[in-house]
């Protein structure tokens, strides 16, 4: 058998080069903007939260879009990640005030930041493994509702009074390092180099790169085979249970890291806020971006966050144009418009922004047209 033919080309083609160029340009832009524009600008809120959501959305896409496992447990795994990060990074000196009702809690040490972030992912993946053992045997919508149920159970456990010495019960966890802690400061406390936007971009970027590498590996191809036809995939020798578990744990790992990032973005963590509504939001981001497209998920995260936090804000305030009072505009209208846009996407543009294409595919069509035509011919 000539297996060499099946191997993907190693040569870096033009579309990949352009893609890499665009990504580097985005990072330089994110870094540059932060040095120029005042830190209080809305754009940084959007960029930081957008990067966080991009990671979570891509992790959900890995499961829902590439493996075809319809899971609605993302908020639960984010919660685990956020709590793990927060619990292990609150400075020892602040523990007494944070764990006010639990005499400072039982954990009296802190982990290095990077280690805590990775641990957030590992703990989330471990929980996913435990949950996956029974749940992954279920099919489509039963799986969805079971994972959703687990997210709710996790939320209840973390709020439980008896675990308060670790989780602080239903109280806020706070005073842990956030994105602003990455800014380089001089002796007077003035910021000399802003890194608070670049860092979330880097964390999310590295994680998304890892996910893309998983998707392009033999595991990724097995995931896609499972998505397209479970029975056929099994007949081809793919171990269903094992691959589903890998996808579920990997997705949860990155959701956990996303949770840690969300904790950093919000400055505080409370189990109460990780509701199913959060999972729905992320699912809608994935759908808007295109189920099965990493680029789409990233793009739509930033669009989603920008629309909900920034661009549509004007809809929430009373506006007058030439003395004419615009009707309907008041607090909450933004969300109505927003949800109608989402419904329109769900109903009429089912492919989302990108369908299942990636950034590099956009250039491939243009540059490699002649060779492609030849390839398609029977």
């Amino acid at each position: 058998m000539n297996s060499a033919i099946l191997k993907p080309r190693k040569r870096i083609d033009r579309s990949t080069m352009i893609t890499i160029g665009i990504i580097i340009a985005i990072y330089m832009l994110a870094f540059g903007l932060e040095q120029v524009i005042p830190a209080s600008s809305m754009i940084f809120t959007v960029l930081k939260k957008g990067a966080t959501y991009a990671l979570v959305a891509v992790s959900m896409n890995l499961l829902n879009g590439f493996t075809g496992l319809f899971s609605l447990g993302q908020a639960g795994f984010m919660l685990i990640g956020a709590y793990t990060y927060a619990i292990f990074t609150v400075p020892v000196a602040n523990r007494l005030s944070v764990y006010r009702y639990y005499d400072g809690g039982v954990i009296q040490f802190t982990l290095p930041l990077l280690l805590a972030i990775v641990l957030a992912g590992v703990v989330a993946a471990f929980f996913a493994f435990l949950i996956g053992l029974p749940v992954l045997r279920l099919k489509s919508d039963y799986l969805a509702i079971a994972t959703l149920g687990f997210a709710e159970i996790i939320r209840a456990i973390f709020q439980w009074d008896k675990l308060g010495v670790v989780t602080n019960g239903s109280n806020l966890l706070r005073e842990f390092p956030n994105f602003n802690s990455f800014n380089v400061k001089d002796a007077n406390g003035n910021v000399t180099l802003y890194l608070s936007t670049l860092i979330p971009f880097l964390i999310a970027g590295v994680c998304i790169l890892l996910i893309v590498m998983i998707i392009n590996s033999s595991y990724g191809r097995a995931f896609k085979a499972i998505r397209d036809d479970e029975v056929a995939a099994e007949a081809m020798g793919i171990n269903l249970a094992r691959h589903k578990m890998i996808a579920f744990c990997a997705s949860s790992f990155f959701a956990g890291i996303g949770g840690a990032m969300l904790a950093m973005y919000q400055n505080s963590v409370q189990a109460k806020s990780f509701t199913t509504a959060m999972t729905y939001e992320i699912l809608l981001i994935v759908v808007i971006g295109g189920i099965g497209s990493v680029t789409g998920s990233c793009l739509s995260s930033f669009l989603f966050v920008a629309c909900s936090e920034w661009w549509l804000r004007f809809l929430d305030q009373q506006q007058t144009i030439n003395g004419w009072q615009v009707p309907l505009l008041r607090s909450g209208f933004r969300l109505v418009v927003f949800s109608l846009i989402i419904m329109a996407v769900v109903l009429f543009f089912r492919q989302g922004i990108m369908g299942s294409r990636e950034l590099s595919d956009l250039f491939k069509n243009r540059w490699n047209k002649p060779s492609r035509k030849g390839g398609v011919k029977p």
Binding site: F70, V135, L138, S140, D141, Y280, F333, M343
Partner: protein, 307 residues
């Protein structure tokens, strides 16, 4: 001992009846479309909001209650036509996502209209009255709910088993394509299903919110999810199963809420254990157990996978 348990048991039966009325909507829609209608809980919430606004406009009760029920049924009908019908040939996941989108839209719409504030549910004479049963003081709604639920369920089962539209429903839920070939108007059957489901959710909302007295845009999601669990527990697609499941969940949940008090009064434990935190989580634990042990639920039919 019994007098400590009784209040929780009573409110459990009452809440169970209310869940049952919502669960029927889930189970019927799932039976026909194989769709978890995530928006159903929000239809239930919207019915509550409608009641608040309609009775605030000064309409007498004998008009407002039928009006609310009719409007709720109309909303259910409209949602199906707008959000689910265009996706009939799409993959099941698309319809489910559409349902999540509808849920999101309804919640935001209500948030906009109410300004995100708790709305006080109007008190309805007779069912808001206080009564005393076996030493436990409760509201009339606690007694009315199970009775009304059973009457409605019996009527519904009669409808499904003995009328032409009921026969059509059963046919469609057995085999979508074949029943279409047999000349059944699929769309009208599905519409009727949604109308019935929403109507019952409307009845449930009147009973539920009379008990809880405030409505906010998120108050539909938890009862909705629990009712869905009840539907799965009883065997999705089966109306009596959904009702039995709902009563079991309602009673267990309320007993769990009172477990600390009950155990302390009985002298088994001395300190509170914090069981109340798990009253919501319990429902989902039950769901996962039933899905693993008996995925078809108590009364469900065995599903055979076709390749």
């Amino acid at each position: 001992m019994f007098s400590t348990v009784l209040p929780y048991l009573l409110s459990g039966v009452s809440v169970g009846g209310q869940y049952a009325l919502i669960a029927i909507g889930y189970t019927m829609v799932y039976g026909i479309l194989r769709l978890i209608n995530f928006a159903h809980g929000d239809v239930f919430m919207v019915a509550g909001i409608l009641m608040v606004y309609i009775s605030a406009s000064g309409v007498p009760l004998y008009i407002s209650i039928p009006l609310v029920l009719a409007l709720t049924a109309a909303i259910g009908f409209a949602i199906e036509r707008v959000a689910y019908k265009p996706l009939r040939s799409a993959p099941r996941m698309s319809i489910m996502i559409s349902a999540i989108g509808v849920s999101y839209t309804l919640q935001n719409l209500v948030l906009y209209i109410t300004g995100g504030l708790n709305q006080f549910y109007p008190s309805i004479p007779f069912i808001s009255d206080t009564v005393t049963i076996g030493g436990a003081s409760t509201r009339m709604v606690t007694i009315v709910t199970p009775i009304l639920t059973l009457v409605l369920v019996v009527a519904l089962v009669m409808l499904i088993n003995h009328t032409k539209i009921g026969m059509a429903m059963r046919a469609v839920s057995k085999d979508f394509e074949t029943s279409r070939l047999m000349g059944i108007k699929i769309n009208s059957v599905i519409s009727v299903t949604f109308v019935i489901g929403s109507f019952l959710a409307g009845v449930g909302s009147i009973l539920y919110f009379t008990n809880y007295s405030t409505v906010i845009q998120t108050s539909g999601s938890m009862p909705g999810l629990k009712a869905f669990v009840a539907a799965v527990f009883g065997g999705i697609g089966s109306v009596p199963g959904a009702v039995v499941g709902a009563f079991i969940i309602g009673i267990c949940e309320n007993l769990l809420k009172g477990l600390d008090t009950i155990l302390i009064k009985a002298g088994i434990i001395t300190k509170t254990f914090g069981f109340t935190t798990f009253s919501d989580a319990f429902t989902f634990a039950l769901l996962i157990i039933i899905l693993i042990v008996k995925p078809t639920g108590l009364f469900g039919e065995k599903q055979i996978d076709k390749v």
